[in-house]
Symmetry: C4
Subunit: 233 residues, 4 copies
């Protein structure tokens, strides 16, 4: 059996990889995106070391959840094992975006979570966007990229965070991951993250004691998500 | 009688909805614009859930001041009831723009009004741009979007603010609304708001004790507006 | 005798008026540029109230140094009298640019001069870029735009500033004027001003006690200007 | 023997000179790039005073390591002697980029080195990016551009910094130089510098006590550089 039935996730992953560059979430090659086909347990991810200007959707590398590359002349992104662990840990997600986008990375470098200060944030993220601690030396030396994914999944489980309601996290000293039910949703969440990170930074410089009311978080998150959602600007 | 005579406001509303995206006042779908025909009491507003890249002027949704949708296959923006209450409360305005533009939203999230620090501001806004308080829980639960509009109209009435001289406000924890005698003027005011919000933020970081003289506010506002205006750069 | 021999300054003024929009020094219509023909004492300036998208070089308005409009269907910019007084006061300049560009205006609103913190600044401006005081009420009421020009010329004379070595100033609560031996030089100085204003703001936030050595100011200014200049990156 | 075999470095230098403008690292003419052919000891650099819009690859000026211009109708950039001294001091580099890019220059004007706060930085620069002291008056008067190059080489030698692991420095009150094994790598490092300078500024405003762990610096630098590198997003 060929892999032709996986062309769709290759195309989806390609579109998002190009999108994060176009939206200036990626400088140089600092980012990558993937999309998964849950029925086969195979995801498509950016190849390693291919220039964006030459990239074709056919170049996306297929990888299964054991980390085996399927039918590709390219190596997958060096961050592949992080994507893999996130897919294994978060069963409902269909796509992942990793970027070093400026404002999200500014918070990650400061090792601080992004608080909810407004409805823009609450429309996408049901609470503060957590910043995970620095990965320790033993984990970095053992298997850096895999441990990064394992850390994310463990953190969400320990903190009882629902990855469908909090589709993003920051990694101290590193950058951001976002995800969603599809790779397109993951992309939109990456755009939302960058904008919210920017606005939160500056709002706190204007007013250090912002108290955004909980009922507005709930209202905005629920009008856009779940059974009774009705949002559409 | 058909709605053909309303094509003009559909075209106007379309132009402004595209304009706020082009001018980067809107990220993702965080914004919408409308234009009203005062003779019929019908306004045209962005449809809900249609991608900008596919949007046509014909898709604009017509809504009357009772909130009834006229002859459309689309639902109107989820913020329609806010627009409606503003049109009902402010009789002289012809268009409304709502955006989560970065700098205006930074002030809204900080729950702070934007002071007049220069002639750029005074050319468009005759005084500080007010930031309204957070909407309370009861109002959010009763009818969030309608209450948002009612709050704006009540605030301007209570504060004796003339909406034609102060064509904008911020909503704490949310974003901005601007308006004008036409939807084009509302659009220009939204651009002016974003620029003034940006500059006010940084000017205050350079000098916390700015005292912009009242006679310059008056001069600039009046050379551009009203019976004796003569401005035109 | 026709005004055909003045086509060149109309074209020059047009190019710079379009340039300041393209370089994003101008938001909406917040800016204008002019070029002067010194032999006839006539300058060309942006017409009032014509949209940039429709503007043609032929639309530039010719004005003489008595303020008389020559052969034009348009009114000149409402800031014309400011340009006129600057041309009368600074004999060697060939062009003037007025913009509310973001960073220059941020300093103007803060009512602060921009200090020399680096060679980028020193390449264009031989010292701190002065911010003039707020114009008083009597002058604003008498003849606002003319008094603005008179204030600039008087300030440079009182402070013994050479307008060819300091081709810019800020006006408290307002914005910036730049000039140069040609309108193209005035345009380049407006671009340099905006960049230096931006960088000075942020450098001072990193280090409040910057002491840029005087010998570097002199070296950079002189390698680019005057008899022994040799600069050219 | 002609210089045709040097066409490649002229083309490379041209591409990078255009690239730094396109990437907005250069405002006006504030920057230049060069590429060297090590076998002949000749480098190609931007000509002085030619507008970018007219620049052709054939216009790049060839200069040998004695500073002699080879077969050119143009003068080389006024910063040529700085490039020359860097090429003489750092034997392994193939290209140099000098820009007054905004964020790098902000740090240079503040006379502060850029600390390592994250993996983005550590991927390109193995430690803090040093800011060298102001050049003293005697050196400025003797031979400003040459002394600038000599200062950089001496600083790296004194501090035992490996220019291949730290391919950039700032000059107090001036701007930045970056380099690399090729001019393309120098270009990428200039882009990385600007982004890291931006993010470091803001991260430190969020958290003044960032302690980025040393093991992450090492991991990131080594997965991208040297014998065991495997990075490729």
């Amino acid at each position: 059996m060929g892999t032709g039935y996986l062309d769709q996730i290759k195309q989806e992953a390609f579109e998002v990889n190009m999108g994060i560059v176009r939206e200036r979430l990626v400088v140089l090659t600092w980012g990558n995106a993937s999309a998964i086909d849950r029925s086969s347990g195979i995801f498509a991810i950016k190849p390693s070391g291919v220039s964006y200007s030459l990239l074709k959707w056919q170049d996306m590398v297929l990888v299964d959840l054991d980390g085996k590359v399927i039918d590709s002349k390219f190596k997958p992104s060096s961050d592949t094992l992080t994507h893999l662990e996130i897919y294994k840990g978060f069963n409902e997600i269909g796509g992942i975006v990793h970027t070093h986008s400026q404002w999200a990375t500014i918070w990650a470098q400061a090792s601080k979570s992004i608080p909810v200060l407004g409805t823009t944030h609450a429309d996408h993220f049901n609470g503060e966007i957590p910043c995970l601690p620095y990965l320790n030396k033993a984990k970095v030396e053992r298997a850096y990229e895999q441990e990064t994914g394992l850390q994310i999944v463990k953190f969400f489980k320990d903190q009882k965070l629902n990855p469908m309601q909090m589709p993003s996290c920051l990694l101290s000293g590193h950058a951001s991951f976002t995800w969603g039910s599809t790779s397109q949703k993951a992309f939109e969440n990456a755009i939302a993250l960058e904008s919210c990170a920017n606005m939160a930074y500056h709002s706190l410089k204007l007013n250090t004691k912002i108290e955004f009311p909980h009922h507005l978080i709930q209202k905005h998150y629920k009008r856009k998500h779940g059974a009774n959602s009705y949002y559409g600007q």
